[in-house]
Each structure stands twice: as structure tokens, then as C-alpha cells.
Amino acid sequence: MTSEEPSGVRDIAVVAFAQTDVRRTTDELSEVEMLMPVLHSVLDRTGLKTADMDFTCSGSSDYLAGRAFSFTLALDGVGAWPPISESHVEMDGAWALYEAWTKLLTGDADTALVYSYGKSSPGSVRDVLTRQLDPYYVAPLWPDSVALAALQAQALIDAGDTDEPALAAIGARSRRVATLNSRAQLRGSVPQGDYVVRPLRTGDCPPVGDGAAAVILAAGERARALCSRPAWIRGIDHRIEAHALGVRDLTDSPSTRLAAEKAGAFERPVDTAELHAPFSAQEVVLRKALRLNDSVRVNLSGGALAANPMMAAGLIRIGEAAARIHRGESDRALAHATSGPCLQQNLVAVLEGEPR
């Protein structure tokens, strides 16, 4: 809980998760066509139908779709008839999950469907993301997402927090463990490659890909009825930092640390962490902010270096962490999502399974 006072709040859990394969291009599919199988899959896991959902919330980006109100088409795919209680964040689906979680906390809903999706393939995502920057002073210069991440990586190297071989090892490990994740885009032995923007090489950067994910939340007894081992959300919080890179210490992530503290992440050790670190150097920053030592299994899915579908990659982190709890492979897991240049905005969720 993030509130300042203790409250006898209801227990809310992730009870189902589904995701697409993440692929470099999905030219043959519209966003809705990409999303539909995932919605069916997550509903099938619980036996619920769209009409059984008390609340629906989604995350996506008009800029990736290249059109205004792009999420309205996805809503058509959901089948919002009779009309549904529904909302949308122009953010990663992890924040849609946060909105749904607050809705369930009010008691107005017992179940929620959360989904998000993004296709990066139709355009150049490096160029598109420059449109996130200060529109008057920075965006006109078109500094791209890799260049900004390279600034962060160089700052870490200069501070002695890492070096290029260590960064290469992060990329290699991510793709090696991703061999066990059939959904991941880059798996197995991937060459570290040439410099994209020094000191970042291809292997330090996320693959560009398309994908979608969906999660079902349920409260209390509904969760137990829908899932044999619900992933209870013990805490979830998110924080944002200043936008201008010049006023931030890029070697640190105070917003992640604060979100983790508010989410209760430091109260007891976690055994698993799913971090949304699109660039290898960002994993270094996040591990430090989250105080993750070598006993914690980090990004067994391969993380964002193996698959980084925009707008869904954060929700996938929560889904992956929850799925491990569902399967009994984790008892207490941390999931993290990020948004904005150089980890500007960060969300942390702590999930737990009941003792076995």
C-alpha cells in the first residue's frame, strides 16, 4: 500500500497473464488483430468473458499507431457491448494495471481486464521517441533514444559503476536465458555487434518489435476462485523525475527507489525480479536502486533486451513475475516498468504467492 495510513484494504491479485510472441515486424496484422488472440487467451485462462469484467483499462500510444484515438479500434476488438466500465492511459500497460488496481481498491469492481499493445515496426522508433522530449528546446534537435541512453551509459562508466565488458555480459545473459522464453524476440547467442552510439553496441540495445499483453486482476475470494495460486499485489507505486537530463543524476534512479520503498519492496527480500531495462546500462542503475543482490533471479524472461514491445513491455514484466508465482517458481517477486528517456518514470510492484 502506498497510503500514509494503514488501512484494512482488500487483497488484489494478478490471476491470469497472456502475451504475444514479440516479432520484428507484423505487417500482416493490425494492432487489433495482434491483440485479439491475447485477449481470448487471458480470458480463457479464467473462464471469464468480457461482459464478466467489472472494469477494463488499457495502455497504448497514438504516436506508434500513427493516428489519433488509435485505442478506439482496440476497444471495438474487446467487444464492449453491452457498454463496459472502461478507461485508457496513454502509457505502458503497467500504469493501466495501476489504474485498475485503484479501481478494485475502491470496491467498485471485483475483476479487471488490463491490456496493452504496440507496434514499433511501421516507423523508426528512435525517431518517434524524440517526440517525447521538450517540444521547444530539445525535440527540434531530434536526439534519439539510443543517444540519450548512451549518455546514461557513459555517465555510469565514468562513475566507475560499470564498464563495457560488464554491459556486454548483461546483454549476453539476457539473451541466453531468453532461450527458455518462446515469446522473446532475440534468443541465444547474439553478437554484441558494433557501436550504435558509443559506448552502446547493438547488444546493449533492445530489439525493435511488436507485441501485446493482457492481465486479469481480481479481488479477494474471486481471485482464489479464478487461480490456484494468485499473485497478490502487496504494493504498487510509481514516481516520476524531472524531464531535463541536465538536472538528473543519470547514474541513479531515485524514482525507482522511492516507488520500491512505497510498494514495500524493501520490507523483505524478493526471490525474483523482472526489470524493464531496455538498455544494458539501465539494469546496472536499477539493480543498485532496488538493492538487488546476486541471490535474486533477475529477468529470467530475458527482459527488455530480449523483447521490448513498446507500451506492453512494462505490463509483461508484471505478467512474467505473476506467472512465476502462479507456477510456484517464486514466492515473492518484484516487477518494474519504466517510461521516458533514461528511466524518467518508474513503477514498482511487489507480488506474493501464498505459502505452500
Binding site: 489519433a68 476497444l75 471495438d76 457498454p83 485508457h88 489504474e99 485503484t102 481498491l105 517526440r131 523525475e241
Partner: protein, 388 residues
């Protein structure tokens, strides 16, 4: 389980205008936020979280502008959420913020919605070509005009009703210092003789394109007790969505709107909206939507809404005033327009609406819709705290 009651203790708007060239986007939102904080006599440090909304990013050409606006809204180190539900977004944003308080996740939340249409071109933003889809080259008016004609045919309303609404709203706007359009020489004849844009919608029956922002401070019971001015209490709030186009959709009176209103009324204990609600700020971007929504919201039977308008019931001094502020017809910073409806409803029950104040406004409805009449958000606010 019980929810925390939610109170509106601060409201701020910018002066809405065709182009606010004196401020950046950040300057615009900060102007509204500062006024809301001043109204509540709070500082940036008193705000626990920020919830921001706007219509599509293409309207300004800034992708996910909450990232860039974090500093301007004092959100650094705090949670910041960005809501986008098309034209209903201003209302939805307020409801998402209200849920943070109701769920006791946060005690005091700043919620803000904006649009700075002069930074780009909204018609372009809405008209980006999509493969295999019918282009919407006629803009929003071209989309909604056939629905208005369908309403006229179904209800038998005389074709004079739309101009009555526009004439009323533009006169109301003269009493609202924040309204974009202040047409001091407005007459009914001028409205009726303005050019026909999308038959039956005339130029003077359409909303302007505005730059503007609206902000509110929402807080819990303890926060309301400390407020320097009377709070507005949220008595009910809901969102409903339905698909854009499908066989059986009633574009004149969408079921999502009816269901949304019914949910709000249930929460607030409203059994007869016509009797139990004192005034309405509703989302009327084209004049004919006043009689259409009067029916959809349950203030009149089907086919009867236009009679309320024609009889003057919805005038500022009528029995059920509608759009006392001048409404969307007098200022339309799209993403903010829904929140302005919610905020003006709250101003009324706080007795803070100035020259456009309605006497004895104890319970007022704020209403917003968006997309192809498919997204709805509404709240009912009252001068007295909810009983539960």
C-alpha cells in the same frame, strides 16, 4: 468496504483563447494548476499525486507530454498518471484522480486537463490516413451532423432549436471571464443567419478551437475540513464505453450514455433527475446535442428534450439551467473541455461561479463524451457531503 468521500477544494482555469501565444504548453498548464492551488490555499508540497489528461498527442505534436510536463506541474518525486479517453478525457481524468482519493491511496491529488490547439492543427490530427478505413475528412462536424438529422427526424423537433441553444450558451459565456468566445453583439438572428457548415449545423452552432487548461484539487474528508472555501462533494461518478460503429448502435442516444448516467444516479440516490438535479454542465460541441443529451441523461422522455430547450427551461434563469458557463460552444480546449464541465459543476455547488452562478444549486451534473459518441464520463457533485 467503504470508500473515502472525495471533495473538490480547488479549481483553476486559464483564460481560454484561440491561441495563447504568451505561454508554452508548460506555462499554460501551470497557470491553471496554480489557480487551483491558490483556490485551495495549498502549495505544490501538499499534492501527493498528479493525474493529467488531454485528447490525442497529435493535437500538439508531443508524444506522452506528461513526461515533459512533470516539472511544470510539481510532479517530480510523485506519481503521475496520464489518461486519454478521447473527448471524454477531461471527465475521465478527474474520475481516475478521484479514485486515488476514494481508494485511500493518496489524500490530496492535483488533476489537470489541457489542450493547446494552436500548437498544431486538430483537423490534421484527426485526419491522418489509416489503411482500409474510411477517411474522416469532414472533421467532427461531418461525423456528427447525420446523427443530429436522425434526432430531428425521430423527435420531430423544429429546425429552430439548435440556434436557441447556441444563442443561450454564447450569452451565458458573456458572464464567464474564462470563456473563449465573448460575442457581445450576439443575437438570435445572427446565429440563424450564420453560414451552414454541415447541414443542419451552422457556423455559430459549433464549438471554437481553443487553447486552455483546467485543474482541480481533490482531497479526502480531512482535507475538506481544512479547506478555506466550501468544498464540492462527489456524490457519484462513472465511465462507460461502447464500440465505435456496429449494427444496432443508437448514435442519437447511445446506451453507454444512459448506463453511465444510471450508475451515477444510483450512487447518488437520484431517482428523478429532473427533480433531484439543479443544473447541468454537459458536453455540447454542436448545439443540437443539448436536447439530445437531455433525453440521454434522463431529464426528458425520448423525443421530448427539445421541448425543454424551446420552453427556456435550460436558460440560466430556467428551471434546469444547462451550460451556465457558456459550455463547449463557447470554449473548447478539447482535452480540457470535459474537466471544465466537471469543474463548473463543482463551482456551482460551492457557490463560486460568479456572474453565472445559479441560485440554490445544490446538486449539479458534470458530463463529457468522446469518440464516436462512445466514451462517457460523468459526475454528480453536491454542496453537502455524502451520507455514507
Amino acid at each position: 468496504m467503504s470508500k473515502e468521500p472525495v471533495a473538490v477544494v480547488g479549481i483553476g482555469q486559464t483564460k481560454h483563447a484561440a491561441a495563447r501565444r504568451d505561454v508554452s504548453i508548460a506555462g499554460l498548464v501551470r497557470e491553471a494548476a496554480r489557480r487551483a492551488l491558490d483556490d485551495a490555499e495549498l502549495t505544490w508540497a501538499d499534492v501527493d499525486a498528479v493525474v493529467i489528461g488531454k485528447a490525442p498527442d497529435f493535437f500538439e505534436g508531443v508524444m506522452m507530454p506528461e513526461l515533459y510536463l512533470a516539472d511544470a506541474l510539481g510532479a517530480v518525486g510523485k506519481p503521475m498518471l496520464r489518461v486519454h479517453t478521447a473527448g471524454s478525457v477531461g471527465g475521465s481524468t478527474a474520475l481516475v484522480a478521484a479514485n486515488l482519493v476514494a481508494a485511500r491511496v493518496h489524500r490530496t491529488v492535483l488533476t489537470l486537463a489541457f489542450e493547446k490547439q494552436s500548437e498544431s492543427n486538430a483537423m490534421w490530427g484527426l485526419s491522418l490516413p489509416i489503411p482500409f478505413q474510411q477517411p474522416l475528412l469532414a472533421g467532427a462536424g461531418g461525423f456528427f451532423a447525420p446523427h443530429v438529422r436522425a434526432y430531428m427526424r425521430r423527435s420531430g423537433a423544429p429546425d429552430t432549436v439548435g440556434s436557441l441553444v447556441a444563442y443561450k450558451d454564447r450569452r451565458n459565456a458573456l458572464k464567464n471571464p474564462y470563456a473563449h468566445l465573448h460575442e457581445h453583439d450576439i443575437t438570435l438572428e445572427k446565429v440563424q443567419s450564420s453560414p451552414m457548415l454541415w447541414d443542419p449545423i451552422r457556423y455559430s452552432e459549433t464549438c471554437p478551437s481553443s487553447d486552455g487548461a483546467c485543474a482541480m484539487i481533490l482531497t479526502d474528508r480531512a482535507g475538506a475540513a481544512r479547506a478555506p472555501r466550501p468544498p464540492a462533494w462527489m456524490l457519484g461518478g462513472a465511465m462507460r464505453s461502447e464500440p465505435t460503429l456496429f449494427a444496432g448502435k443508437d448514435a442519437v442516444s447511445p446506451r453507454a450514455g444512459k448506463d453511465c448516467a444510471a450508475d451515477v444516479y444510483r450512487q447518488a440516490g437520484v431517482t428523478d433527475p429532473r427533480r433531484d438535479i439543479d443544473a447541468v454542465e454537459m458536453y455540447v460541441p454542436f448545439s443540437w446535442y443539448e436536447p439530445m443529451w437531455l433525453e440521454n441523461l434522463g431529464f426528458a422522455d425520448e423525443g421530448e428534450g427539445w421541448k425543454l430547450t424551446e420552453a427556456g427551461v435550460t436558460e440560466l434563469d430556467g428551471d434546469l439551467p444547462v451550460n451556465m458557463s457558456g459550455g463547449v460552444l463557447s470554449a473548447n480546449p478539447i482535452g480540457a473541455s470535459g474537466m471544465i464541465r466537471f469543474a463548473e459543476a463543482a463551482l456551482q455547488v460551492r457557490g463560486q461561479a460568479g456572474e453565472h452562478q445559479v441560485e440554490r444549486a445544490r446538486r449539479v451534473l458534470g458530463h463529457a463524451y468522446g469518440g464516436g459518441s462512445q466514451f462517457f464520463s460523468m459526475w454528480l457533485v453536491g454542496a453537502a457531503a455524502p451520507e455514507s
